[in-house]
C-alpha cells in the first residue's frame, strides 16, 4: 500500500480535493490522511468520512483500518493555517 495510491483514489472520487497521505511510521501500514474539499461543506463528519471511504472502495477495505483521517472544507483549512502560523492581522 502506498500513500500515492491512496491520494490518487481519493482524488478520483472527489475531484476538487487536496489530499495528503503520509506514512508517518514508514511501515506502509499506517497513514495520516488529510482531505480538503468544498464537497464537504454542509455535511456531517460521518458523511465526509463516508465520501472518503467510498473513494477507497472494496479493494482497499483493509486500508481503511490503516488510515487516520481528517476532513476539512477549504475555509476550515485556511483557518487552521492562520492559527498554526499565528499570522497577525
Amino acid at each position: 500500500m502506498e500513500a500515492q495510491r491512496i491520494e490518487a483514489m481519493i482524488k478520483a472520487a472527489i475531484p476538487d480535493a487536496d489530499v495528503r497521505a503520509v506514512d508517518m511510521q514508514g511501515t506502509g501500514d499506517h497513514f495520516d490522511v488529510v482531505v480538503v474539499s468544498a464537497a464537504f461543506a454542509g455535511r456531517s463528519l460521518v458523511q465526509q468520512h463516508r465520501l472518503v471511504y467510498g473513494a477507497l472502495g472494496d479493494s482497499m477495505r483493509q486500508a481503511i483500518h490503516a488510515l487516520a483521517l481528517r476532513t476539512l472544507t477549504p475555509e476550515q483549512f485556511q483557518q487552521e493555517l492562520v492559527t498554526d502560523i499565528g499570522a497577525a492581522d
Binding site: L45, V46, Y53, I64, L67
Partner: protein, 107 residues
C-alpha cells in the same frame, strides 16, 4: 439472524444517551483507538454505556453493518451514529463533543 443483532443494537442505542462500541472496556481498552475514544469522552465528563465487541462476535460484525461503518470504535449519541475515533477526536478538539454531550435529546 441478522435482525436479532440489529434489534439488540437498536435497543442498546435507545437505552442510554451515549453509547460506545469498543474493543475492551473503558478501564481496560484493548486497542489504541478505543483508548483514545474513551479518553475523549472522559475528558468532557460524559457518562456513557460501552459494549465490548471482543466479547461478542455477532455484535462485532453486526454493529459494522448496522452503522454501515467499517471500523470500531463507534459512538452513538441520542440514537444517532456520531463517528469513529478520528471523528471523535476532531469533535473533542474543536469543542463540539462537549456540546453534544451536554445537549439534551434533540428538539
Amino acid at each position: 439472524m441478522a435482525d436479532d443483532i440489529f434489534q439488540k443494537i437498536q435497543s442498546q442505542i435507545q437505552k442510554d444517551r451515549i453509547v460506545l462500541y469498543m474493543k475492551g472496556t473503558p478501564s481496560m481498552p484493548q486497542c489504541g483507538f478505543s483508548q483514545q475514544s474513551t479518553r475523549a469522552l472522559q475528558a468532557v465528563g460524559a457518562e456513557f454505556a460501552s459494549y465490548n465487541v471482543l466479547e461478542d462476535p455477532l455484535l462485532r460484525e453486526g454493529i459494522k453493518q448496522f452503522s454501515n461503518w467499517p471500523t470500531i470504535p463507534q459512538l452513538y449519541i441520542d440514537g444517532e451514529f456520531v463517528g469513529g475515533c478520528d471523528i471523535l477526536v476532531s469533535l473533542y478538539e474543536n469543542g463540539e463533543l462537549e456540546k453534544m454531550i451536554q445537549a439534551g435529546p434533540s428538539a
